[in-house]
Amino acid sequence: MLTIAGTQFSSRLFVGTGKFASSREMKEAVEASGSQMVTVALRRVDLNNPHDDIMQALDRTKIHFLPNTSGARNAEEAIRLAKLARVASGTNWLKLEVTPDPRTLLPDPVDTLKATEQLVKDGFIVLPYINADPILALRLQDAGAAAVMPLGSPIGTNQGIMTAMQVEIIIQQARVPVVVDAGIGAPSHAARAMEMGADAVLVNTAIAVAGDPVRMAGAFRAAVEAGREAYEAGLGKPSKQASASSPEEGMLTPDLDFIQD
């Protein structure tokens, strides 16, 4: 069972709630995913077009809200959003995102660390979104982060785990849970992260923009369960040398006479 900051989660799939065609589709996809933790964002109310409220679409007795600080470009803006999120949601859980560059949406490591230090002091349970930097992950862990969320590839790119080597190091070193976030574009990417030993994955775009988001949510659920099961079962080591699966004794045919150099 996954435990973050003393809270247990039976599902290792976290789901983002952005980009869905409707609140209803989002709700059904979250249900199909089996997820117990969803991310949400804070925005100004559009006074000319006030939509339904997302808080009412989801059953908060079953699903934890993880408010994010998306849109924050520095530590100061992230801390402001965090405080608003705590008041609006009634939870002190936070996905800390500091993304100064709107083109790449890559996180600012310096301000992410700065904001984590401050928010932990203020009583937040901080899950920082980071580039897959093992040293930064350790620094954040030391600063009191409840988990670290390294990216597989930039947000919304569907490119999968391009950062595999660094993510593996983070997983080996971290004492806090590692949630691979961003860039997971297919169930196979999620399964790969879980096989590597990630504690959980966060998926949004790949589900929300699928032809059938509810079915895709189910596919991710199965992939995350399969990947975790494989990790716990213990995967065989990759090798460049072939090794027969069938016995090599008692062959009924003579050895082929390959030319040996």
């Binding site: 100004r44 409220d53 961003a182 966060l202």
Partner: protein
């Protein structure tokens, strides 16, 4: 008197509370958090938060996000 709400100028009656503003905008106060001049106001305090001429009000809520 005039206030700025979510970046837009708005005329409100004298002695209006934040709750009056929210109701006049046909919003559900339960789903909101507000800032008045940069200071957070929690939903239960919307009624006692009186608005002054020139106040900057931000009405904020959760939307879908990753």
């Amino acid at each position: 008197m005039n206030i700025t709400c979510n970046g837009e100028q708005r005329a409100v009656e004298k002695n209006s509370s934040l709750n009056d503003l929210v109701i006049s905008l046909e919003l559900n106060p339960q789903a909101l958090v507000a800032e008045v001049n940069g200071k957070i106001v929690e939903q239960p305090k919307f009624t006692e938060q009186m608005l002054q001429d020139g106040d900057r009000v931000e009405l904020i809520r959760f939307v879908g996000g990753g």
